[in-house]
Symmetry: C2
Subunit: 334 residues, 2 copies
């Protein structure tokens, strides 16, 4: 299909045509072939005026915390209320494990077959930066197709939380009701990215969930006092992240969750933080891709390629200062 045909299908196709066009467009955007990439850029630029109207929601948490179970419940809740929901996942390990699609589709049994939902698993190869870029582009396809809620799910390993909080309007951290977890989230700098913290599986041990809620609330308060406000995505003077309890399995707490999301969105829209956050994300995305492109060009440069191993060896052997080595290699690149 030409970019023009894909565009037509995404913007104006009937349900089945549109779904097929979305899948083909995302596959095109995931391709690394130069001609595909050129077509993909053309398509993306044409789609852009039709994007930006969705609520972009990031949900992260360790494997097994209940993200997919919750997204199934939330997605059905939203569809009931007239929304169209897209779910994208970022799983940096899926290139190793062969993807988590099976597990997720099983978990999201009813959502995955619903006509008003679109679920797309993580691209299954590439660096986290590459995977994140593909997900950002897939998000634009979903928005152009009229999905007004886009949920990005990520497992809490590596730097994927930072990537997801950097592409969404609201970043939700899902925790289990036991201590130690919040320390880990603080340590990894993830707690401070959270616009909302939810404690799932409250059905298993309501007392533990209540204790966890108190503990995390106090950690968030301390982070708000001591933290670097630049790290948070919200203005800490205007938004204090709440901690709520859920049972995704029993579908309890979904309405309270949605009320909190709505409240956050109203605050962010009212004070102009939403467009500011999105502009900052667009700028960071551009520079991230420039950095990656520069490094790739550097490594691929014939003279650099020829010299890099030898120079690295000299640096590791203590024969060449690292800063001098860098300058020598950069001179070859010029």
């Amino acid at each position: 299909m030409t970019p023009q045909a894909l565009l037509e299908g995404i913007l104006r196709g009937g349900a089945a045509v549109q779904r097929r066009a979305m899948a083909k467009a995302i596959t095109l955007l995931e391709s690394t072939r130069a001609d595909h990439r050129a077509q993909g850029d053309e398509l993306l630029t044409a789609l852009l005026p039709h994007t930006g109207k969705a609520l972009r929601l990031g949900i992260s948490g360790v494997p097994g915390v209940g993200k997919s179970t919750f997204i199934e419940a939330l997605g059905l809740y939203l569809i009931d209320r007239g929304h169209r929901v897209a779910v994208l996942t970022i799983d940096p390990s899926s290139s190793v494990s062969g993807g988590s699609i099976l597990g997720d589709k099983t978990r999201m049994e009813r959502l995955s077959v619903h006509e008003r939902a679109y679920i797309r698993p993580s691209p299954s190869s590439g660096t986290l930066g590459g995977v994140a870029e593909k997900t950002r582009e897939a998000m634009l396809v979903c928005e152009a197709a009229g999905h007004d809620i886009v949920i990005v799910e990520t497992v809490g390993v590596g730097q994927s939380e930072t990537a997801v909080s950097g592409m969404t309007d609201m970043f939700v951290l899902m925790q289990l009701p036991n201590a130690g977890d919040d320390l880990q989230a603080i340590k990894k700098g993830v707690m401070e990215l959270a616009d909302l913290v939810v404690i799932n599986k409250a059905d298993l041990d309501p007392d533990a969930a209540t204790r966890a809620r108190a503990q995390i609330t106090s950690s968030l308060r301390l982070l708000g006092l001591h933290g670097n406000p630049e790290h948070a995505h919200h203005d800490t003077a205007l938004w204090h992240p709440q901690v709520i309890q859920l049972s995704a399995l029993q579908g309890r707490g979904v309405d309270a969750f949605w009320a909190e999301v709505t409240r956050f969105r109203e605050v962010q829209t009212g004070n102009g933080q939403l467009p500011a956050r999105r502009q900052q994300q667009a700028r960071a995305w551009m520079w991230e891709r420039i950095d990656a492109g520069l490094k790739q060009r550097f490594r691929a440069h014939p003279q650099v390629r020829q010299q890099l191993d030898d120079t690295t060896r000299q640096v590791l052997a203590g024969e060449l200062p690292p800063s001098t080595a860098a300058r020598q290699l950069l001179d070859l690149f010029d």
Copy 2:
């Protein structure tokens, strides 16, 4: 002075000649003029075989925690035992405040005039990356001149702790005896960089210091259990960071501190972690400078310069996808 004369002065000069040559060499290395840089690279490469024998110790903590007071006490203690001590500082804010040299020289009154000590303040301009590079190079000058202990002091703001832990053999985090501080260090990911934590000003409130010690010990234990072992600079199976109390003002705890440093060094030397850490640091330093150089060349490229503002504007206005914008700019650069 020619690089050759500087080299001579640093390696074989008498006390006064050597001190002058060190200062001139570091100033040369700090210069951004291209001809200076070429001379500096020549000098650095010639110095390199004479470096690497010192113990490199990083000390960080919030302003006022007592770093300079402690370094004075520690430096005099080490000189008494036959060592030669160099103290370098990284203060990313000094380009704004005009430098902290006055404060530090006052704090290190006796050390700063001692013939067996060499104190050099933070370079007072440039990005953190640039300042860190200069400090790394100054460290090599000090080592070549025979200083067998090099201490790098940094205020705990911004990313300077990461930079200092990335250039030293042992990274020490200095804390005040009150709660909340350790949470901040955990949050910023600094606690996990620490090979040793010291609680200073124990004289003010011994009970609070004891409580802080217990608290930080338990945080470190949890980080060791839950943390990402790749973030720590030591092998967490072989080294459990200790927490000790000090009074820098009263000079109490300096010997216990030094015993812990010595023990760490023995462990690190015995299991081969020291050379591994230094090689990894050299490699990271080289790539950090390459990245910075690539970005600088990109921004300076005539066609990129001409187009960058306009492209950025289109991205922020939502007219151009950030990934497409990055590819367009990279094409200009090619």
